[in-house]
Symmetry: C2
Subunit: 191 residues, 2 copies
């Protein structure tokens, strides 16, 4: 998506350690008027799929999930990071390793809010090795809901997670796909 790629070129910072910092418009400051246009593209891509619920993960997925849900006229459910090892029977849970933070989070979703009648679209800001997406789709599977697909703002395609999951049959639509990124700030997008 040209609009998002241009914004990344203009405002993202590439930091040592393979970090693409987009806190100017996505991760800390959320440029709502801009991202609302970006999220309309998720709607265009998935509008015929009967999506009735959007699933994301706290914290930085929540903003774009809500802006996307406004087009689908549906609720968002966000997976919470749980500190408790004993979560009881009321939750689905999955373990997600974060490369950014170097730790594993148990994420949970209440059984009250997704179930076998749902057709779920996962929305997230980033896709790299795919750990968050695997964890969220595991929760969807536990719930018996249908996973329609995933909508991702920025995919670091060169890290392979997205294409691995596509090969396994998951529909993933990423609005900006980064083909390569170097520490000196050079970015190349997949067209």
């Amino acid at each position: 998506m040209e609009l998002l790629e241009e914004r990344i070129k203009k405002d993202a910072q590439v930091l040592p350690g393979d970090i693409l910092k987009v806190d100017n418009f996505l991760n800390h400051q959320i440029d709502v008027p801009f991202l609302s246009k970006v999220c309309e593209e998720f709607y265009r891509l998935y509008k015929d799929e009967g999506v009735n619920k959007i699933l994301t993960i706290e914290a930085s997925g929540i903003g774009i999930a809500c802006l996307t849900a406004a087009y689908f006229n549906c609720p968002v459910v966000f997976a919470k990071k749980s500190k408790s090892s004993n979560i009881g029977d009321d939750f689905y849970s999955s373990e997600i390793y974060s490369y950014t933070h170097g730790n594993t989070n148990k994420v949970i979703v209440s059984k009250k809010y997704i179930g076998s009648a749902d057709r779920i679209l996962i929305i997230d800001d980033f896709l790299a090795k795919g750990n968050a997406l695997v964890g969220l789709s595991d929760i969807v599977k536990q719930s018996g809901a249908v996973l329609v697909g995933a909508g991702i703002a920025v995919e670091k395609e060169y890290q392979g997670g997205g294409n691995m999951l596509r090969a396994a049959g998951m529909r993933i639509e990423s609005l900006a796909k980064i083909k390569s990124m170097t520490d000196d700030g050079k970015l190349e997008f997949t067209k």
Copy 2:
């Protein structure tokens, strides 16, 4: 606001320990079509105040902050909980005690995203003793921005934080004010 009070009566759970659980529509599942109507009220209340930025705190404030920002056509900045004691010179920070979790969080906002040219509206889901609001307004003060006021979904008025801050001169608009709440689930709203 009648619409929100009705929804609280219908869907909120009162749990022992003075907990009002609204994860059906606000804190875990986010009922975007419903909350978008609720957030329009924040716009009606503050639309003449020249708001150019909305400040909130992760995670559960982000959804309603974004839905409100869509009316104001402005960005959201969300304060992040920082694990690091040394945050450097690039951030404003404040300490916020959480009664819900029984701990103190250092919250940070990049100096890049708020400054003296800004007129800021704070949006949050809950107001009880006022700690989060005090921490966020402290950050606004550090930045030199103007704090236009705060928009709160649910105020536990009987805990006193909101009225203390109003007495100190802060404009706070809460869409549902709980006058009393008992462990057996009885709620009374301030009209």
